[in-house]
């Protein structure tokens, strides 16, 4: 293969990885606090649709971005009220939230824009032109160069990170140490929701400049898998996202190159899911979920 092929592949990899990065870092924040948020798929959806709708209505892409953040925070808050305060079964609430948000977006889309899709908007452009793989959107640069290191540093070297870990691992101990368990979880879910929504917003505001139904197509579930694959650590999760994106980019390119048209792309796309299930099978009990995973906390 030519050099151009590889350069294109790397560029595409970063672009494909970007929404997964935003979403899985948001999800990582959720899971570190001990909450599994299956509302992630819907939260990304509302970020994608809501962000674009506000951008196209207001004519300002930045307002769209802010809108996506607000929608993400609200989605996180919704999940928090149910899972943290009420202690309802986390997967039932998560699936319910996803179904609600997806149908709400499609409802508004149909109502406002009919069966056609939203008007195209002027999307975020690449911040460096003609630089091969470096020609990326600011959201890509931001998530790789700022957000991921920031998240890593926050989790590792700040009191907030320590407290979040304590809350997710052993809420009783956190409580005894004077940490407000439920408030910490609220923060994690609201901020995490905003990050997930930004992952969705990237797709519409930066990648496509438009919205189509089913636009998230399971990327939320990929983010869930990536965080587990990364064993709740930032850099392995990032590595997982890049690996997944590379596989995806490769299969897209192979499919374009006609000689490889017969390679079952779907198998490659399914790989990350299968890898996570396989890893669970191999690591077994040794895979450390956060100690309080899926458990609401209430003082005895």
């Amino acid at each position: 293969m030519s050099l151009g092929f590889w350069i294109g592949l790397i560029g595409a990899t970063f672009a494909i990885a970007t929404p997964l990065m935003w979403a899985s870092l948001g999800n990582l924040l959720n899971e570190k606090s001990g909450v599994m948020n299956l509302g992630i798929e819907g939260t990304m959806y509302v970020g994608a649709f809501g962000g674009l709708a506000i951008a196209s209505e207001s004519g300002s892409i930045w307002l769209g971005l802010i809108g996506a953040i607000i929608f993400g925070c609200l989605a996180g808050l919704l999940v928090a009220v149910f899972t943290v305060t009420m202690g309802v079964n986390q997967h039932v609430v998560g699936i319910g939230t996803t179904l609600l948000l997806v149908s709400a977006c499609e409802f508004v889309n149909r109502l406002r824009y009919g069966s056609g899709s939203l008007a195209k908007i002027e999307k975020f452009g690449d911040i460096i032109d003609d630089a091969g793989p470096l020609s990326q959107n600011w959201m890509t640069y931001f998530v790789f160069l700022i957000l991921a290191p920031l998240m890593w540093w926050t989790l590792r070297s700040t009191g907030f990170g320590l407290r979040l870990t304590a809350v997710g691992e052993h809420p009783e101990a956190a409580d005894v140490a004077g940490i407000n368990v439920n408030r910490t979880r609220y923060v994690a879910l609201v901020v995490g929701g905003a990050l997930m929504a930004l992952g969705g917003a990237y797709i519409t505001l930066a990648e496509l400049g438009t919205f189509t139904l089913g636009i998230i197509s399971g990327r939320g579930w990929v983010a869930v898998a990536l965080v587990i694959f990364g064993r709740w650590k930032v850099w392995p999760t990032v590595a997982g996202a890049v690996l997944f994106a590379a596989t995806d980019a490769l299969q897209l390119r192979l499919a374009i190159t006609s000689t490889f048209g017969a390679v079952p792309n779907e198998l490659l796309i399914a790989l990350p899911y299968l890898v996570v299930v396989g890893a669970l099978a191999i690591w077994g009990r040794k895979l450390r979920y956060p100690g309080a995973y899926l458990k609401p906390y209430r003082r005895a």
């Binding site: 700040t158 320590l162 304590a166 691992e169 052993h170 101990a173 140490a177 100690g291």
Partner: protein, 512 residues
């Protein structure tokens, strides 16, 4: 000791949970450089009291003064700010985090942390206390004794002046106990105060300056440890030696019948020391045998092993003629074993009806064309309700019943299979007097119909009232056996707290 301002002073602390008064006008005081032992049976109110000092709950009335200033803590954070630290029986450590991280957790705020500085401070503290602990070790890789050291470091890191240790030796092997005592001595020479909770008299005598005894929520005495007569303390703790009217008079000519339950060399290993250590006991037909002991000495494991909730690491269990060691629950029931678990709540399915709860262990006997014969289940329930005087309808949810009625249902379920050997744990915990008497009658009925009963209980009055003989469990093994008709609570109390039989025979002081 007198003139100075005490580190902590409690005056008239009262705390009630519903009708139960857990602490009734308790007074307590600890000075600088003092180790105060807090003694009392289970349920005497020690935990309630220390939880209030540590801000985990609030007193209904009374005054807590720290350093002479009246305080009102609404959370452990407040207590820590006032210089009070506590090491609970169940450690509050985050397993996957390091020693330093655990230690700094409560004071680190939200911003950037300085791990190196904290780590250095932890190392300094540790070396001052002669602890050999690596500040960067991950806590879950440490032994129980080391984890306890981390808990102490955690309290000291917050500049605590008063340290509460809630039964710190219960989880330790003897070598670690010596280390802990060294640490405590170092702390008090540095001017700290320590509240040391224990059941073990010899430990109290060894480490404490003064001892405050609680009984049924009241302070019964505060005395210096020097020249202390353990027998006297045991009596203070357990009740007056005259309180034996409840003890039954029984005919001496009870013939021990056939063995109905034989436990041979049962051992259950734990993370530290064995939880059950070569337990050997035979229960014969026509007798009630009590197992006394301070909680946490292997009772739970013994009951678990007998009721097939866990497998013993060594040893055998024989019911009648059948070796049931490897058998499951239902096979054990068939062999003639009945059992009543120590935790009622964990042996019921909360939303299940009374009638189904009664039938749950023999559902296969209620099959009719493959379906459940609900009429028969109802009939059985009605019969049991009448026979055992259960105040409930067959369709009521079991969790809606009062403790006494719930226990009657579980007792009925155990007895309906006519067991030859019955194992009951804490059979009257939380029950009112009437219900207690009823349970006793039923246990005695089993004995009188040539069954054997093993009663595991922390309530000595109960054991003295219903048992023929009582064995005492300490650290997973039997340390003594007494005839219930001739023994006294004080004698039992001494055995339970680890005084040796020999010292007892001499009736002399039990020292270190």
């Amino acid at each position: 000791m007198t003139g100075s301002v005490p580190l902590i002073e409690l005056r008239g602390i009262t705390k009630a949970f519903g009708d139960l008064v857990a602490n009734d006008a308790v007074d307590l005081r600890v000075d600088r450089g003092e180790v105060l032992a807090l003694l009392g049976e289970n349920g005497a109110g020690k935990s309630t009291l220390t939880r209030m000092i540590y801000g985990l709950s609030r007193p209904d009335s009374g005054v807590i003064k720290a350093d002479g200033v009246a305080v009102s803590f609404s959370s452990p954070a407040d207590a820590m700010a006032a210089g009070i630290g506590m090491v609970t029986q169940e450690f509050s450590l985050v397993g996957p985090m390091t020693v330093t991280e655990n230690v700094m957790l409560s004071t680190c705020g939200l911003g950037p942390i300085d791990r190196a500085a904290a780590s250095k401070k932890v190392a300094e503290l540790a070396s001052r206390l002669e602890m050999t602990i690596d500040p960067s070790a991950v806590v879950e890789t440490l032994s129980v004794g080391e984890q306890q050291q981390v808990e102490i470091l955690k309290a000291l890191f917050n500049d605590c002046k008063l340290l509460i240790l809630d039964e710190p030796t219960a989880v330790l092997v003897p070598q670690d106990v010596a280390g802990l005592f060294n640490t405590i001595r170092t702390l008090v020479t540095q001017g700290m105060g320590v509240i040391f909770i224990s059941h073990k008299l010899h430990e109290v005598v060894e480490i404490a300056d003064n001892v405050t005894v609680l009984r049924r929520g009241k302070t019964v005495a505060t005395v210096p440890c020097e020249g202390l007569d353990p027998r006297q303390i045991a009596e203070l703790m357990i009740g007056s030696p005259h309180a034996q009217e409840g003890q039954r008079q029984r005919d001496d000519n009870t013939n021990p019948g056939e063995p109905v339950l034989t436990m041979e060399n049962l051992t259950v290993l734990g993370s530290g020391k064995p939880r059950l250590n070569g337990f050997t006991l035979t229960v014969y037909a026509g007798e009630i045998v009590g197992v006394a002991g301070v909680s946490g000495n292997g009772q739970t494991e013994l009951v678990d092993v007998l009721s097939a909730a866990r497998q013993p690491d060594t040893g055998s269990i024989v019911v009648g003629e059948t070796d049931v060691t490897k058998l499951g629950v239902l096979a054990r029931l068939d062999a003639g074993l009945g059992r009543l678990s120590e935790d009622r709540k964990s042996s019921i399915v909360p939303e299940m009806s009374v009638e189904m709860t009664l039938a749950l262990e023999e559902l296969d006997n209620y099959k009719h064309w493959g379906l459940l014969d609900k009429k028969a289940i109802r009939a059985n329930a009605n019969q049991m309700i009448q026979q055992f005087d259960i105040r409930a309808r067959p369709t009521d949810a079991i969790s809606a019943l009062s403790g006494g009625n719930m226990q009657k249902v579980l007792l009925a379920r155990s007895l309906q299979t006519k067991p030859t050997a019955l194992v009951v744990a804490q059979p009257t915990r939380g029950l009112d007097v009437g219900a207690c008497d009823y349970v006793y009658q039923q246990l005695e009925a089993v004995r009188d119909s040539d069954g054997g009963v093993l009663v595991v209980s922390e309530d000595l009055d109960e054991l003295l009232q219903i048992c023929d003989r009582i064995v005492v469990l300490l650290s997973g093994a039997i340390v003594g056996e007494v005839n219930a008709a001739t023994t006294s609570p004080a004698e039992l109390g001494l055995l339970m707290t680890g005084a040796t039989g020999a010292a007892l025979d001499q009736g002399s002081e039990v020292g270190v």
